[in-house]
Symmetry: C2
Subunit: 341 residues, 2 copies
């Protein structure tokens, strides 16, 4: 049945659909997506389980007036942002992206914009080398895109594998999305750089796969902000993370606390054996143009903390002086309004 | 890594999660779900690709004030309905259910009801023998549940395989959800039977698998109503379906046109070779207690229709006399407000 053997999906032909306005909408989307969408129209998508690879799946919602406002970003960018954010969860597992299922809730006022949204989705799916295998469209009061991503990995990297002594690496430069949200909240236009970082994030799929294949011990994306997600890695791995705040790469005008708390970041935090850090960083920079930075290390958690169920702390150094009054354990963990089960 | 070898998922242990109100909500859900939820907390769910089986996936949204109103059904029932509707798409492929990813959008007024919603989901997932492998929770103005289902089949049944001469079988008894919606629209309480059919549908997973293994040629669920979905099967298979309207099983007080147009039905329409129909019907009734009825047959489409791209017609017989004025091709296709890509 499979025509495209290197793809996750078979049944590349769409099913003929009956008449009706809603099916016209689907036909419009399919016209727009062309060969990017495969086998649409049956009750469920038929996927190809890849030989010898682990299959991973994740779902993520992007909701108008919760995650964004219509005035902030274009319809094209809502498609980019929703898709990139969902794919970032595959990147964080070390997986490549294979298939996407996209569920839209579409208020009447968004109907005419759906083609631009579809274009945004298409641009990200194309870059990821994935395909759209199905979805759902419902009417509703608030526009949302719930994207399910299905991928595969030769080696999966959980968030729970960080070992004492590991080096902590971070992709990219932080603070943009937080800056952008802050500006919009204040009624100001964000800087071009900050706006781009919110509206057109890039899932670190190639870097994530390279980290997985290079033997990384633990990995997650920092969509809830570096400080908050570092705590998740620490808790899951039953270790303590020591992050040198001043080492965290920051964008233009971004303070250290802003960099640590900026959410909607789709960068990867990775724990790797110290002896492999240098080569991995160099390889990923050379092959994929993705900058990685050493930002700290993994240390043992206090035994009393373990007994009290309080493993998972993150120590942030370098916050005194220039940024007094920010308590690493409390004030740095804030500001995200969505989360993953 | 897999502890439960007969399950689709590995990583049965949840990851420890950091502090925060949202994670408390997730912990509440996980407490409620117990062993039904596996490996929650990483960026993506790790699934187990079953040997020698096809993997299928589908996503479906259930949106407040689009698909239901809070006054109509209980929070428990929203969980039941959302999950059963999504699983029905697997049943329609002939697949068993393996893993679910559940994305909630939760307005503040729904927060306290989430435990009951979770219980409704759990009851359906338990009956299906599946597991909850991940999800997402977002705040938002309208409550919605977007359920992604991942399953597997030894033999997948598309909607496009109906052959000339096939017998058309239908599971269950139609008209309940349509009756219920009609009553609520008129400000009346529906009958107990009609209300149950809307609020607590059952996905025909066991029957769907039995049809697949028994060699069914084409299958779909009739969530858009029998008349509308029959057209999809006809269009996809490039045939004409002849349905004897009076043969369609109807619930109490349901007219023939109501039975044909009632949406939100999660019954299966199946095209099977005439010689295998009898045994399949008897087996499925005996093993799973699911009633199947012969409702028509598959005939060749007119060559002129094919040339004009008008294949996929459905002829409905038996509508004269008792139900005059209902034109099979136009008036029977109406009334669904959501649809699947």
């Amino acid at each position: 049945m499979a025509v495209c053997d290197d793809l996750f999906m078979s049944v590349p032909r769409h099913q003929a659909m009956g008449p009706g306005r809603e099916f016209d909408t689907i036909r419009t989307l399919l016209d727009r997506w062309g060969e990017l969408a495969v086998g649409i129209g049956d009750d469920a998508a038929l996927l190809h389980a890849p030989q010898g690879r682990s299959v991973v799946a994740s779902t993520d919602a992007f909701v108008e007036d919760t995650h964004f406002r219509q005035e902030w970003i274009t319809p094209f960018e809502t498609g980019v942002r929703a898709t990139a954010a969902a794919l970032s969860d595959l990147a964080a597992m070390g997986a490549r992206a294979d298939a996407l299922l996209i569920a839209f809730v579409v208020p009447e006022r968004w109907r005419s914009k759906l083609v631009d949204v579809a274009d945004g989705i298409a641009s990200v799916v194309t870059d990821a080398g994935a395909r759209i295998a199905g979805g759902n469209i419902s009417s509703g009061g608030a526009f949302s895109i719930t994207t399910t991503v299905i991928g595969s990995a030769s080696r999966v990297v959980p968030r729970s594998g960080a070992c004492v002594g590991d080096t902590l690496l971070l992709t990219g430069t932080l603070g943009g999305p937080g800056k952008a949200l802050h500006s919009w909240d204040d009624g100001r236009e964000p800087s071009e750089w900050a706006r781009e970082r919110f509206a057109r994030p890039v899932a670190r799929l190639a870097a994530g796969e390279a980290f997985a294949e290079g033997g990384a011990h633990a990995m997650l994306d920092i969509s809830d902000g570096l400080a908050a997600d570092a705590r998740h890695m620490a808790a899951a791995s039953r270790v303590r993370l020591q992050i040198v705040a001043s080492a965290v790469p920051r964008g233009p005008g971004v303070t250290i606390p802003e960099a640590l708390t900026s959410g909607e970041e789709y960068e990867l935090l990775v724990a790797v054996a110290p002896e492999s850090a240098g080569k991995l960083m160099a390889d990923i920079a050379a092959k994929y143009g993705v900058r990685c930075t050493r930002i700290g290390e993994v240390v043992a958690t206090d035994e009393n903390d373990m007994l009290a169920g309080r493993s998972g702390d993150v120590d942030v150094f370098g916050l005194t002086g220039a940024h007094p009054g920010v308590h690493p354990a409390v004030e740095l963990v804030k500001g995200h309004d969505h989360f993953s089960l």
